[in-house]
Subunit: 212 residues, 2 copies
């Protein structure tokens, strides 16, 4: 499939399409019109057609979309048709919560959790071993880890990100409330919870509806 | 201050301005040019001028921005100059992690955590009491809770959201991986972790740089 330059807004919507199509597929539906998908997703049918047209002709006039096909194609575009190996840095509350989350069904496999506290060495969180930070580089290289989840204190994140970049990490999923500076080629995706809460508080006082 | 209609893109950037200005303020700097702010934030100076012009004339030609003034004004716009009362529904791993997070310094005060497990009744998480779900409505009304954080299983979220809406909650901060349908006037802000991971995996295979 030939790919065009796709806008960031469309990419942000893709995981949501993927989720809805997965649910529709699970409910046994084989094909769906953009109108039906539109009413389920609370997005206009024309937006759906436009978005999906970015990826070539999934839909057919009068037939609608083949749910399984569309689901699989979006999965491929998102890269969730293949496994991604992941480590979590920081075995604190967030590290634990993320280790217990079932990301594996979407292909994200947590292989280890790293921490500095010796008393945690060798313990397991949902079957995932806690390793010590001095093993970080050798582990990342040996296991060809793609993604590191950063749930450690703000003051230590930059240094750890540097170490990860040096041993070839592809992506940092950053939960610390700061912006990381990384070399070209390394992906940083931030989950800034405080920013999300501030947008929520903005919207409480300037309510103008909910939308995706 | 008169407010114009502000685009969602600008609003998304405001918490980041607020964070940087807070750090600049803490470091003792009283005024800053859009050029200096631009190099710190890795955003173009013209974007900064455009964004901040939405809120009237904070900057003065040849002087730059008064950091404290701008910080306070953005804080007011975001609504973080006042306290917001918050409850967490679900005392699982995520509920614990969020209860332990210091949102209070930005004005978000967690008053209670709700769960269904009787063995948790009356326990404390970082000083915050765990209450039982049958106390939910009376507590939200009596304490005039504004924000409910939803960290409970997907299958139970819709029902609990309904109960919260009926007792006058203003906003739902939703961590469950589904879209909530709420009446007009109730704000829903989602933290969809799986979607964030999928965007990360998309970007691993279609790298085009990091930006805010």
């Amino acid at each position: 499939m030939e790919e065009r330059q796709i806008s960031k807004a469309v990419i942000k919507r893709l995981p949501r399409y993927y989720r809805y199509l997965g649910e529709i597929l699970n409910s046994g539906v084989e094909r769906i019109s953009s109108g039906e998908l539109s009413s389920k997703m609370q997005v206009t049918a024309s937006q759906i057609r436009q978005d999906l047209n970015n990826f070539g002709g999934f839909g057919q006039q009068g037939y609608g979309y083949n749910v399984k096909y569309l689901y699989d194609e979006i999965g491929k575009i998102l890269g969730v048709n293949q496994k991604h190996s992941m480590i979590i840095i920081g075995a604190g509350n967030f590290g634990h919560a993320l280790a217990n989350y079932d990301f594996e069904k979407n292909g994200f496999v947590t292989k280890a959790i790293f921490d500095v506290r010796p008393e945690l060495a060798g313990t397991l969180v949902r079957g995932v071993p806690v390793l010590m930070m001095d093993q970080l580089e050798s582990y990342v290289r040996r296991e060809q880890i793609e993604i590191a989840v950063l749930t450690l204190p703000k003051s230590r994140v930059a240094e750890v990100a540097d170490r990860l970049v040096k041993c070839g990490i592809k992506a940092l999923w950053n939960f610390a409330h700061l912006d990381l500076i990384v070399p070209d080629g390394v992906v940083v995706e931030n989950v800034h919870l405080v920013d999300s809460l501030m947008q929520l508080s903005y919207r409480i006082s300037h309510y103008d509806g909910n939308e995706e």
